[in-house]
């Protein structure tokens, strides 16, 4: 196995934890300063959402614009959110970072949900509130939640010719991804601590569907083709996206993405590649700008003669396609052609449609052909 691993400095990781803790401390001291001056304490939070989002053509990333909103304590509309943000800050620093523990968003919600003394009001009514406060906080600190020791749900599996080490607090485990059996290795929700030890794979193939993972795994595709196979199980989870980014960024492994031939699948691809508008602040850490789109495209349906196994497109598909056509990052000629073809023909197809040819068609014909001829969409 070729060694393409980049060693992570344990110290650096630790420092990261301390660094973040210090950031929180500094932010709080800043607030204390404001309080001493009898100013209205405020936290500066870059605004998220399509109104403050730009597409950076050069770096090929969706990035957050310049707009900053200040959340003030002494402001009737902000006060509650300000309080919730401070609850997040305190929990992250004291309970997570200082203790070197990780928690889910739901844990934080329960930990900080209580009745405010002397009132009938709860600090947090629904998890949605604390979730938003977490996003506010990570954006305000210019970091991302994994660094705050907050985990999302893990989703996705991976298998292939690679050995990594993983850590749970102080315990280090060595994981051989080529011996993960029929299930593959569950991609963790936080992947910062993973170190790449032995890398034999030469590219990464990402599939939207678990079904495809099983197919490729059973066909020993990754072994024969010297690659990693990964399934995201729909929209990719944060852990999976970050992992993909690290594979591409640190190990310089090409990334090829395979989804159904429909606007939803194409959207999943674009999210993995560029990030998303709602989470534009993360496209830096979670985007994989060098990823390529293998398929399926409408052209594929034509080329591989799958017309008899197509599905009629629904209204919601049409609507989404029309929206996507306007996105900056789909403006490339090739994509415009594809989207227009879809809008014209109003048909879609799943990857499994390839099974109509033969069960192993995807492993033996479709994928190898595509990769060999580098028949990708940007």
């Amino acid at each position: 196995m070729a060694e393409k691993a980049k060693k992570y400095d344990k110290q650096a990781l630790k420092e990261s934890r301390e660094e973040i803790a210090k950031k929180i401390y500094d932010l709080s001291m800043q607030l204390l300063g404001q309080i001493d001056k009898e100013d209205n304490p405020s936290i500066a939070i870059p605004v998220r959402g399509s109104r403050n989002v730009e597409f950076d053509k050069e770096s090929k990333k969706i990035v957050l614009g310049e707009k900053i909103a200040h959340r003030y304590l002494f402001n009737v509309g902000h006060a509650r959110k300000f309080m919730q943000t401070m609850l997040v800050a305190s929990y992250v620093k004291k309970d997570l970072l200082d203790q070197n523990l990780t928690a889910t968003l739901r844990d934080l919600y329960y930990a900080k949900k209580r009745t405010i003394a002397g009132t009938k009001e709860e600090t947090i009514d629904e998890q949605k509130e604390s979730d938003l406060a977490i996003v506010d906080f990570e954006v305000a600190l210019d970091t991302f939640r994994e660094k705050l020791h907050l985990r999302a749900e893990p989703k996705g599996r991976i298998a292939g010719d690679m050995i990594v080490t993983d850590r749970v607090r102080e315990k280090v485990d060595t994981i051989d991804l080529s011996h993960m059996g029929s299930g593959g290795w569950a991609v963790p929700s936080i992947v910062e601590q993973i170190e790449f030890k032995d890398v034999g794979a030469e590219y990464v193939l990402v599939a939207e569907k678990n079904a495809l993972f099983d197919r490729l795994n059973e066909d020993e595709y990754w072994k024969k083709n010297k690659c990693m196979i990964m399934s995201t199980a729909g929209q990719a989870a944060r852990g999976a996206r970050r992992f993909l980014q690290r594979l591409n960024d640190e190990l310089k492994l090409p990334v090829y993405i395979l989804t159904d031939a429909d606007p939803y699948g194409w959207y999943i691809y674009s999210t993995m590649k560029y990030g998303s508008m709602a989470l534009a602040h993360e496209s830096d850490r979670l985007g994989c700008p060098n990823a390529h789109f293998i398929g399926m495209s409408i052209s594929d349906i034509e080329h591989y003669d799958l017309r008899s196994v197509t599905i009629k497109a629904k209204d919601v598909d049409i609507k989404r396609a029309e929206e996507m056509k306007e996105y900056e990052w789909f403006k490339q000629k090739e994509w415009q052609v594809e989207i227009n073809k879809f809008l014209e023909k109003k048909i879609k197809a799943e990857i499994q449609a390839l099974s109509s040819k033969s069960l192993q068609y995807v492993s033996k014909v479709y994928l190898p052909e595509k990769i060999k001829s580098q028949d990708f969409l940007p």
Partner: protein, 560 residues
């Protein structure tokens, strides 16, 4: 068997003329009591109280004394009610008692152009008649004019002749100045609701702050409506009529009674604002009419010409010192005394004229909070008594209780857009609206003196007065709301300060209590400042956040 048919015999003209009778005034009103305010049992009792109280107040004011009235209401064993009204006024000379109480449409107030309470000379006498018809009893009058003689008698009315009938006349010596009337009534009722005598007296006290009224109710409860001022209102001057108010028949009446030797001098002396020049102007416009002749020779057609000419000439507005409103200061004392409101706005409009030449003035007040609002129907909300809005109408300081629908004041109130003054639901708020219409002639809608006719100029003036009051009250209410909001904000901040100071303390290690105190201090300061700029920024931020939230949801980005 054939039915016996009953056929009315056809009367001859002669027979008919025998049947023809002339009804006296008394007979007429006997059958039409509702025209004088005697509708329903409750109102009938109130009307009797009203008549005697008006007479008493007038008598006191004529005498220049601070009125002290005593009203007693008793329920008798036979279901009848017994009422006594006593005052410390001028008293009635013996020879006038009969006319005053035993003859309808007679009295001193009838023809004078003076601002007064009573207008038609029906009041007191009709009470006597009413008692008579319902109980068959006479009314007892006791009066003294201050010459150490007290005169008592029992009086009733000969309905056919419209003449008084006096019995048990007695003259004793003693110190009593004023009048006391005792009357028994049936077909009446008493309670404390809006149309009852209690409410009537309460409102009378409001409009007459120099008066003190003591009421003893059937349940023996004594209520004193104390006076709010010792200032007796000035007596209104008797005014000469203004020519613009003149009709042809008025003029014909005047020439019949006038002492003047020439029409020209009659016009100058018996009207206000008529100068020699004006008379010249009029005579030029009426060729063929000899203004140097004696008035009694004036013909109807000529009178008509003069009246038409009057309307073509320009006149100075009538004098207005014949009208004495309650006055802003007096009204303020009175309303504050009785209502103890949180906010009070009073407006006194300058005198105007209606129907061309009759001077009048409107004063209005709006009281908010405190004891303002209808006392009769008090609803509670969370144990707090909420006054309900009431509109009080007065004409020449006399409360108008009935017939609100037809009234000019009601009309004015109806047409005002109260929402503009934060008083949209004033009827559910602790609000008292007070309007007093003062004039030498009150255009009542009927003989019962229940409502002011909806004359255009009058309604307009009332509206202006009330709207001006409302503007003031609106500012007060607005400030109240602001203060409430400020209080709410302060409470809101205080709620979160505890949590925030705890969080900051956990992160930085600084003392939580110290932080909390500091934050509280800022909160106090900040809520006092109007944070208008926040509103806009807040809106912007909210919009952006909502959009972000929606997108997160749409793209399935929300974490589980």
């Amino acid at each position: 068997m054939a039915k016996k048919s009953v056929v009315e015999p056809v009367l001859s003209a002669e027979q008919l003329s025998k049947e023809f009778k002339e009804y006296s005034i008394a007979e007429f009103f006997k059958r039409n009591r509702q025209m004088l305010g005697y509708t329903g049992k409750l109102r009938s009792l109130t009307t009797v109280v009203h008549e005697f109280v008006c007479n008493s107040l007038d008598a006191c004011e004529d005498n220049g004394v601070l009125p002290e009235l005593l009203v007693e209401i008793k329920e008798l064993a036979n279901g009848h009610f017994w009422i006594a009204v006593e005052d410390n006024g001028t008293g009635i000379p013996k020879k006038n008692v009969g006319q005053a109480f035993g003859k309808l449409l007679a009295g001193t107030k009838f023809m004078s152009r003076k601002q007064k309470r009573g207008q038609q000379g029906l009041g007191g006498s009709y009470c006597v008649l009413f008692s008579q018809i319902t109980t068959g009893k006479e009314t007892h009058v006791k009066t003294g004019i201050g010459d150490h003689k007290i005169y008592d008698c029992d009086i009733s009315i000969d309905v056919n002749k419209n003449e008084p009938v006096m019995h048990n006349e007695a003259e004793t010596s003693g110190k009593f100045k004023g009048t006391r009337v005792e009357i028994e009534l049936a077909e009446v009722e008493y309670n404390r609701s809006t149309y009852g005598a209690f409410e009537y007296l309460r409102r009378t006290a409001l409009a007459n702050p120099h008066t003190q009224i003591t009421l003893i109710e059937p349940n023996q409860e004594i209520t004193v409506f104390p006076r709010a001022t010792t200032k007796i209102p000035a007596r209104p001057k008797e005014s000469l009529p203004h020519p613009l108010g003149l009709t042809t028949s008025d003029l014909m009446d005047m020439v019949g009674k006038s002492d003047a030797r020439k029409i020209s001098s009659m016009l100058q002396n018996e009207f206000s604002r008529v100068s020699a020049d004006k008379v010249k102007e009029l005579s030029i416009m009426c060729p063929g009419v000899d203004f140097e002749r004696a008035p009694k020779y004036l013909q109807w057609a000529e009178a008509e010409k003069i009246v038409l000419a009057v309307h073509k000439v320009k006149w100075i507005a009538p004098e207005t010192d014949s009208i004495i409103p309650i006055g802003k200061d007096q009204l303020e004392k009175s309303l504050k005394n009785l209502l103890q409101p949180e906010d009070l706005r009073i407006v006194e409009r300058p005198p105007k004229v209606f129907r061309g030449g009759i001077p009048f003035s409107v004063e209005a007040a709006i009281a908010y909070g405190g004891k303002a609002g209808a006392s009769g129907s008090q609803s509670t909300e969370n144990g707090v008594i909420m006054g309900k809005g009431e509109g009080l109408r007065f004409a020449n300081r006399v409360p108008l209780l009935f017939d609100a629908g037809a009234d000019a004041i009601t009309e004015a109130i109806k047409t005002i857009d109260w929402a503009r003054y934060d008083l949209k639901n004033w009827e559910e708020m602790p609000v008292t609206m007070f309007v007093n219409f003062t004039s030498v002639f009150v255009p009542y809608t009927g003989a019962g003196k229940l409502a002011i006719a909806q004359e255009e100029e009058i309604v307009a003036e009332i509206r202006y007065a009330l709207m001006e009051c409302a503007r003031g009250v609106a500012t007060f209410i607005h400030n109240l709301k602001r203060a409430e909001e400020q209080e709410q904000r302060r409470t809101l901040f205080f709620r979160y300060i505890g949590e925030i100071s705890q969080a900051l303390s956990e992160i930085t290690g600084k003392e939580q209590l110290v932080l909390e105190t500091k934050l509280r201090k800022i909160a106090e300061k900040r809520t006092a400042i109007a944070e208008a700029s926040d509103e806009k920024e807040l809106e912007e931020l909210e919009k952006l956040e909502k959009a972000a939230q929606k997108e997160m949801k749409d793209s399935g980005e929300e974490d589980e």
